[in-house]
């Protein structure tokens, strides 16, 4: 046959089975972008605009306030205690759930999810009910002169409770998917349980763990409800950044409120940038593991 037409290989006409028409593609992309702009980008920009609406001088004055600095320090302190605790708890829980079979496993998985399903305000109230002056352990704690509610201890406890699921939830499916083969290989090569965990299990879940830590950290710094109940809002003492934002806002100090809010948003952006840098720097080495 001489009248062969140009084959289907003409570059412009290559079609894949998973491709939609241009109209549909553009509609989908535009919807996504519009949504992100309205819900994520605009609010973020408005936070910084409001914070700087009175000029840099006003901004720095608001930020430089002693109470604000105390709130920043307290927020970082609470996160610095709560996040490592939840990394240890989360790793232990995920390791137990993913690598071992035992009675009550599904109950444990449900319990891990509990903080997600309970309103943070309730979480805070539980601690007041348990450790408050009139709570179950209140008198005993008073005897021992231990103060939990309206104190940093209470803030840490409430934050740990609320942020507990992040690391465990991130690691459980990942560890389950990876199975036990590599651990068994390490054990049969003579490695102890501790070495196996350190050299095999942990590197395999490194990216999942990092992601869980970031989510956990973001929530620990931003938690409002539970912390608000146990804090008592003592300025310069038990005020975290989110609580400080609310106080300033209620006092009609809008520039101050947004200035502190912009610091909080800034911390979130810093953690995201740090994650991207780590991925970029160590991505090749950990190519075997899963990335987010």
């Amino acid at each position: 046959m001489e009248t062969q037409t140009a084959g289907p290989a003409t570059a412009a006409k290559v079609r894949r089975a998973t491709t939609e028409s241009p109209l549909v593609r553009w509609a989908l992309i535009a919807t996504g972008m519009l949504f992100i702009a309205l819900v994520l980008v605009l609010p973020l920009i408005s936070v910084f605009m409001e914070a700087l609406s009175g000029g840099f001088a006003t901004f720095f004055q608001a930020v430089g306030n002693a109470d604000t600095w105390q709130a920043v320090r307290l927020t970082l302190l609470v996160a610095a205690i709560a996040v490592p605790l939840n990394v240890v708890f989360g790793l232990a829980a995920a390791w137990a759930v993913a690598k071992f079979d035992f009675r009550g496993k599904s109950l444990l998985v449900t319990l891990i999810d509990l903080p997600f399903s309970v309103s943070p305000v309730i979480s805070g109230l539980i601690y007041v009910l348990l450790y408050g002056a009139n709570g179950w352990f209140g008198p005993a704690l008073k005897e021992l002169d231990i103060k939990i509610i309206f104190n940093v201890t209470g803030l840490v406890l409430a934050t740990v409770f609320v942020t507990f699921p992040f690391v465990a939830r991130e690691l459980i499916p990942l560890m389950q998917e990876q199975g036990r083969d590599e651990e068994e290989a390490a054990i049969s090569l003579g490695a102890s349980g501790w070495r196996t965990f350190w050299y095999v299990t942990l590197p395999n879940v490194a990216w999942g763990l990092l992601y869980g830590v970031l989510l956990c950290n973001a929530r620990a710094m931003g938690e409002f409800g539970a912390v608000s109940v146990v804090s008592g809002h003592i300025r310069g003492l038990t005020n975290t950044m989110p609580l400080h934002v609310e106080i300033l806002y209620n006092e009609y100090d809008f520039v101050g409120a947004f200035a502190v809010a912009s610091l909080l948003a800034g911390l979130a952006i810093v953690t995201l940038v740090a994650k991207s840098l780590l991925e970029w720097r160590y991505g090749d080495r950990l190519a075997g593991g899963r990335k987010h």
């Binding site: 590599e182 290989a185 390490a186 490695a191 590197p203 080495r285 075997g288 593991g289």
Partner: protein
């Protein structure tokens, strides 16, 4: 290293996986555990490795009871079905793992470790790939890394779980010959699990055929293939046609045919099953003596012509093999009537096949 397993029982959540397994392997032997999936062969291998623990039974390595020892203490090299390479470590790091995790007082110095790793990589023909990651290797290369890693701890026993299961046919054949040579050169004692009878027959010194948590027969490849002890072994090793028969005083009656069944001189008019291999079925002219059958399908591609036939008596389908160019080839055409006789059968009374 001699291995003796004695009366091994194991159940998972009440479901029995091994029901009293006895097995031994002597120094230098290459033993195959052959069976269908669910027959318990992998469980047995994992119990030998210390990755599972038997509910009861004795396990001796060189006469020493190791049943309570963990996997790390048994000095066993285990090659996993899907290799289980450490994804985040290079090939060299994978291979050296077993040496690097030794307790400080037994750990060789780094220079010695590096030297041993290089030797092992040369042994498995991967000496240029030490810096690669497992994800950058082909299936056959990964398999050899897994093997080098297991050999690094100088194991007394090498255990392999479906070692060639995930490889394509050509690579599989090359690798298994290479593995057999390696086993002989290093004077290992090896056990491997497979569901591929061809692999077991070619590679092993002895084969343990497993079914439903028991060992049906242990013997050399020639023994299990030529003198299968049970109906299961006969059917599992190679293709087999089943024909109902009556067994009486050392003879088996299959339809109108009377064939020798010398294994059963004592049976009197018992019902049973006669097995016949496709190449032992002889196709004859329609007028000749034998079982009448109709040709259904003919497959000419391959080393012999394969013919599917339906028995006229009961519609049962049989498979025969006819060498290319033999006179019987002239007789076969689709839908043609032929007669079948058998040169060799093996009959089992019903109680044994149940």
């Amino acid at each position: 290293m001699t291995i003796t397993a004695d009366g091994i029982y194991k159940s998972f959540n009440g479901f029995p996986a091994l029901r009293g397994v006895n097995l031994s392997a002597s120094r230098g032997e290459f033993v195959a555990l052959l069976g269908p999936s669910g027959s318990g062969k992998t469980t047995l291998l994992r119990i030998l490795a210390g990755l599972e623990f038997a509910d009861s039974g004795r396990l001796l390595f060189n006469g020493r009871d190791v049943a309570s020892q963990g996997a790390g203490e048994r000095n066993v090299g285990f090659v996993f079905q899907h290799y289980a390479l450490f994804k985040h470590m290079t090939v060299a790091e994978n291979v050296s793992f077993g040496l690097r995790v030794k307790p400080r007082d037994k750990r060789p110095p780094k220079a010695v470790i590096d030297k041993q790793v290089n030797e092992l990589l040369r042994l498995v023909q991967l000496d240029r790939l030490g810096d690669r990651y497992p994800s950058q290797l082909s299936g056959g290369q990964r398999q050899r890394v897994a093997l080098a890693r297991a050999l690094a701890i100088q194991p007394a026993v090498l255990l392999l779980d479906e070692p060639f299961g995930a490889l394509d046919a050509k690579v599989r054949k090359e690798l298994r010959r290479w593995l057999r040579r390696l086993h002989d050169d290093m004077q290992l004692t090896s056990l491997f699990v497979t569901h591929d009878q061809e692999e077991a027959l070619e590679l092993a010194d002895r084969i343990a055929v497993m079914s439903d948590g028991r060992i049906e027969q242990i013997g050399t490849p020639a023994e299990v293939y030529q003198r299968p002890a049970t109906a299961f072994v006969y059917e599992f090793l190679g293709n087999a046609n089943r024909l109902p028969c009556r067994i009486d005083r050392g003879r088996a009656m299959v339809g109108s045919l009377v064939l020798p069944a010398p294994e059963h001189p004592e049976l009197r008019d018992a019902t049973g099953v006669a097995f016949v291999r496709p190449h032992d079925l002889i196709i004859g002219d329609a007028r000749a003596e034998g079982l009448e059958a109709r040709v259904r399908q003919i497959f000419v591609a391959g080393p012999a012509i394969r013919v599917e036939l339906a028995l006229l008596a009961n519609g049962e389908m049989l498979e025969a093999e006819v060498p290319h160019g033999s006179p019987a080839g002239e007789l076969i055409a689709p839908d043609k009537l032929v007669t079948l006789t058998m040169t060799k059968i093996r009959a089992f009374p019903d109680a044994a096949t149940a």
